[in-house]
Amino acid sequence: MSDTPSNPTDPNLAQTTGPHVAIVETEDAVERRAKEAYFTASQGQLIWARFRKQRAAMIAACVLVFLILSGLFAPFLSPYDPTIAGRDKDYTNGAPQIPMFCDKNGCSARPFIHGVERERSMATNFRWVTKVNEDERLYVKFFVDGDRYKLFGLIKMDTHLFGVEGGKIHIFGTDEDGQDIFSRTLHAIWTSMKVGTIGVVIAFVLALIIGGVSGYYGGWIDGVIQMITDAVRTVPAIPLFMAVAAFMPPEMTAEARFFYISMILGLIGWPTLARRVRTHLLTERNQEYVLAAQLCGAGPGHVIRRHLLPSFTSYIIVDLVISFPYMVLSETALSFIGLGLKDPVSSLGVMLQKATSADVLLNYQWYFIPVLFFIALVMAFVFVGDGLRDAADPYSDAHK
């Protein structure tokens, strides 16, 4: 069934299997131990065992972990500061610089990029033009000192994973202000994670309280709460945002604005989750095992804690994972139309605000590299969510 390590607390098989598995006696001991492990495994172990069997979900999970880590270590992995402070004013709207080993002057064991210089003369029609100097080599170096930052917001550091000697390297190119797109992308991943997490947590707490009350009491309380929930769901989110955005004073700092936006996302996102919590509670409340527990003399507190909560925690976790990408996407869309985050904060929406012109589409395609990361992020979340959903469903083995 599964190769989950058998539970060490009950080594004596004869005692725990009971009479109903007497048929298993003919099978060999290894298989029986596997079965034993399956029947005694905790819910978490079962979900993990089923989740591991789904290849797509596992790949998505790996991608997700990779992205989360790169977001977490963004200040270290990115060579420059993502804000205007880390800009390269000599290389605006610059193309990506891919480190190479060979050029027309021969090969080198160390990867390098070519130097660039800006010039303005009669020949360039008196506009600043960036020119690649193919004779100058800038060698890639690891663990270089650069802009100061705080890792995890705590540890002060100025070492970056990579950089070049005597110049700057932009592997994803730069935007019109000369900010490094690679650095911004990594920070934007982290921003999205933070927005999503705060939004989901707020939505979840609200949903648990509102849906819990609604599902637990039922009756007219449920009716009234459901009507209000439906009313909130009917109001489109964008005008809600606009009205709340009107409250935000323009002098608000980027950080405060960020928390504000994530809070609003959470405040708008609760109805869907609340409905699910309510539905779970309503259906589970009338199940036979709850009745059985009640007949055995269990009090309501015990029933809720030991029977109802475990019956749907897995579903709730799944719902959280599933609603995560929607939070991230709303933030992106809002920032894109200029109602969400503003410039010093790196986020995909902010970065793409300027990318709508045909000029960018035709000439500066590297503006869109971050999009690939976000597609990966959203896809990873959706696939992990689906995988978790299937794994949390105890009947998924029955038909597969």
Binding site: M227, D230, T234, A237, A243, A333, F374, V382
Partner: protein, 334 residues
């Protein structure tokens, strides 16, 4: 039959109550937008060169009835709104009902068409994905459907436009060709509309597919493991017939129920797509009214119309569900 009409009546009353609650929410939201109509009227005058004073604003407020208490204004607003009368726009100074004209219907049509497209993809794909044993088919279908969600739709719109402009020399912006823009509705105009509208419908529909698919898949996986399906299989029903006649019928009930909210979600995305494709329907007007000119009258009218459509749709799906699902029917006819 009597019971059924009573059910319809209760639903209608509940829909009305929901609409009134929502209208209160919308109206309060519009109050939160800084400044009011009177100031905006006079600010316009100011740009024309005539000086204005605080007294002028007060007089204007009185003329527009803005000095009335909040609830009184809400009351008169909602009574007028139910008669399809939304007053004048603060900025554009034309009658809103006239301004919106068939723009709102146009937006609604685009959204409904996207909704239909989304479910036309999501229902078969969701059922196959939940029932298949073939991991490649399952993952491939899901990958394609979720791509619509993961691709920001403004980007998709941009790319399709670019491709069509560069390679086919045809711009896909707008909703009508020049000669049909002010023409009365007839078949040719409709054909012309469809030639332009497929792009927003496709973009909105694709991004809505992911959510629909997740719902269908989840509901379907829940139903497919149930005993009645096994029982039906044991009786010799199999293949497509088994899926469609047993689990799918039960799984699709909740979906019918949530159509109204899906419409809301799609309409939320419409302004962004409209912005890029330079559509001139209500979504674009909404964003214009809210983000650029703070035109609360116009924005309130659009949002009210939208919520009214959603509530109406919810009302009809509730009735529809009662008609098609015997379990729901039993529970109300008891």
């Amino acid at each position: 039959m009597l019971n059924f009409s009573r059910f319809v009546l209760t639903r209608a009353v509940m829909a009305l109550i929901t609409l009134i609650i929502v209208s209160l929410v919308v109206f309060s939201l519009m109050e939160l937008v800084p400044g009011d109509c009177a100031e905006r009227y006079l600010a316009f005058k100011n740009t024309q060169g005539s000086g204005i004073s605080v007294e002028d604003i007060e007089i204007e407020r009185q003329r527009l009835g803005l000095d009335q208490p909040f609830l009184a204004r809400w009351g008169s607003w909602i009574i007028n709104a139910f008669q399809g009368e939304f007053g004048d726009s603060c900025i554009l100074r034309v009658n809103i009902a006239q301004l919106l004209g068939d723009k709102f219907m146009l937006s609604l049509t685009i959204c409904l068409a996207s909704l239909a497209l989304a479910y036309a993809i999501a229902i078969p794909v969701g059922i196959i994905s939940a029932a298949t044993n073939n991991p490649w088919l399952n993952n491939g279908l899901r990958l394609f459907s979720y791509l619509g969600l993961a691709m920001p739709n403004f980007l998709l719109a941009l790319m399709i436009m670019l491709v069509s402009t560069v390679w086919f020399g045809e711009t896909l912006t707008g909703l009508f060709s020049k000669e049909y823009r002010d023409a009365p509705w007839d078949w040719d105009k409709f054909v012309d509309l469809m030639k332009h509208a497929w792009l927003p419908i496709f973009i909105l529909g694709w991004s809505a597919t992911a959510f629909a698919l997740q719902t269908v898949r989840a509901l379907m996986s829940d139903e497919i493991g149930k005993l009645y399906v096994t029982a039906a299989a044991a009786r010799g029903v199999h293949g497509r017939k088994l899926l469609w006649r047993y689990p799918a019928r039960h799984a699709l009930g909740p979906i019918v129920n949530s159509l109204g909210f899906d419409l809301n979600r799609i309409f939320n995305e419409l302004p962004i797509v409209a912005l890029i494709l330079t559509l001139t329907e209500a979504g674009a007007l909404l964003i214009e009214a809210l983000a650029r000119s703070n035109d609360q009258q116009l924005a309130g009218a659009i949002i009210f119309l939208l919520t009214a459509s959603i509530v109406t749709l919810n009302f009809f799906t509730d009735i529809l569900l009662a008609v098609i699902d015997p379990r729901v029917r039993k529970s109300i006819l008891r």
